[in-house]
Symmetry: C2
DNA sequence: AGAGCACACTGGCTTGAGCCAGTCAACTGA
DNA sequence: TCAGTTGACTGGCTCAAGCCAGTGTGCTCT
């Protein structure tokens, strides 16, 4: 051991890191603005007098950091930074719902000059996953819940992006006979107003939050660039009697979305 | 366009994916248990009749997915799955604090058979970052806050891990003269009991949550394996008068930690 | 005008070679 | 006995070359 030759004197850099560092500096300094196309791998290799694989490795590093987007056949582009959308705890507030008429998702996007779109892609009666059955206290062996899948999009002037996917599970005993079990259209006040109609206003919300790298399907479904984790939120809606009447799993792009809770401290 | 030749008939796999898929299957099936050392890159290459670089690429894919840990000079090992530690909203509850005597961090770790350690590495009077100054409503140009840095560790029978780092900022006007400004030892009831002593019980907590890939310093500091994002929580403590008396930024390993809030819906 | 093709780009992936740098155990010599 | 060296492993990184697969342009033929 003893005396590692670190940091003393001239730092001898690995070629791939040197290229990556130089490109990173150009990006963060603004010399390479957002959306700008980088030199091709072959040209980078030539400019830095290295092998194409080495330039390629440098680009991979930047992509992993989320600084650039690599597009097969087109080139490498400086990634556009996005403002974070924040989904807050007032999400479920009755007051806010009645005041604005907008869903919190639409309100948040409007604030940032983006156009929202929400698409209910399926409504089915299914056997609940065990995690869901536990929280709703329903039979895990029967088709005891309705599963509603919603996709949330945002578009700017360039393109439309998938921001998050929400899968809501509702006990069949609650949803039976109402629009919850049948229709994508929720009517005035949306989903949570319907729960109120059915005698289940939301009194408490439990939110279990983790983050992870996306699965392969999520990368495809959300069209996720490299190096972007997802935030996984398991939300449980609870009525004044302590009954869990709804569980929703949100999976959101972490580079787009965040959460913002403001809650009282109890006890 | 038209008819992409996808999925019809025999799927022709890329060599690196084939190797990765086979190893992944062996891992998820339990054939390769946690902690087991994989064949060396050179042996993999030989067994799959490919170049070492190709086997290496396969290993890289698995590491990116968080399935294996690569250790220079030692080998590639199946990563041990960890139960998620959940830090909840009762974190700041007075009742819980008085009942257990344990901090929530210690309580949570005890529940999972892990040994906690918390280390206060520095207490300084500093100029607040702008994000902090805004929330505490203090002068962003003066050394108007005390900065306390805490490192949270967990150890099992194998090793000690860094779970999260918390940096707390307290307005100098509040901390001045108390242990908050001077001592790592907080005494009975810890940090938040001291705020209570000073007339700032926590009435509300705001938690702004994002996830992202770690910076290079965070990778080193938290000794993060590949493919593990961090959860970034900006917590603001608010007293009954609406005064923000403390802001803490937590950065936690997403493979170790998660958050679990249970809050009332207001309005 | 329009459909279609050819070609020149782009990145995607593999090969096989070589050297560098940690790790660890076995050996060597004071 | 034990410190120090050696050498056989491990992964880390680079090279140069080649072929495959998307993308987009411009030309050609109808």
């Amino acid at each position: 051991m003893s005396e590692k030759p670190q940091g003393n004197g001239v730092e001898k850099k690995l070629p791939s890191r040197r290229i990556a560092d130089e490109l990173r500096a150009a990006i963060t300094s603004g010399e390479l603005p957002e959306g700008r196309k980088l030199e091709s791998e072959r040209k980078l290799a030539e400019r830095f007098e290295s092998a194409r694989n080495t330039a390629r490795e440098a680009v991979r590093l930047l992509a992993e950091e989320g600084l650039v987007d690599v597009q097969h056949g087109r080139g490498v582009f400086v990634r556009r930074k996005r403002k974070l959308l924040r989904f807050g705890s007032e999400r479920y507030s009755k007051r806010l719902r009645e005041q604005t008429g907008l869903s919190p998702y639409r309100a948040e996007l409007a604030k940032q000059g983006l156009t929202p779109r929400v698409d209910c892609t399926s409504i089915e009666r299914v056997v609940p996953p065990s995690q869901i059955a536990e929280r709703l206290e329903v039979d895990p062996g029967q088709a005891s819940v309705v599963r509603r899948e919603n996709w949330y999009y945002a578009s700017d002037d360039q393109a439309e992006y998938v921001v998050q996917v929400g899968v809501t599970y509702i006990p069949w005993l609650i949803a039976e006979g109402s629009v919850l079990a049948t229709s994508a259209k929720m009517g005035k006040g949306s989903l949570y107003a319907r729960f109120e109609d059915l005698g289940h206003p939301m009194a408490r919300s439990r939110e279990e939050i983790t983050a992870r790298m996306p699965s392969q399907e999520e990368v495809q479904g959300l069209k996720l660039p490299d190096g972007v984790p997802v935030i996984d939120v398991l939300h449980t809606g609870i009525d004044p009697d302590g009954v869990a009447f709804e569980v929703t799993r949100f999976v959101m792009r972490a580079d787009f979305g965040g959460l913002d809770y403001n809650m009282p401290i109890e006890g």
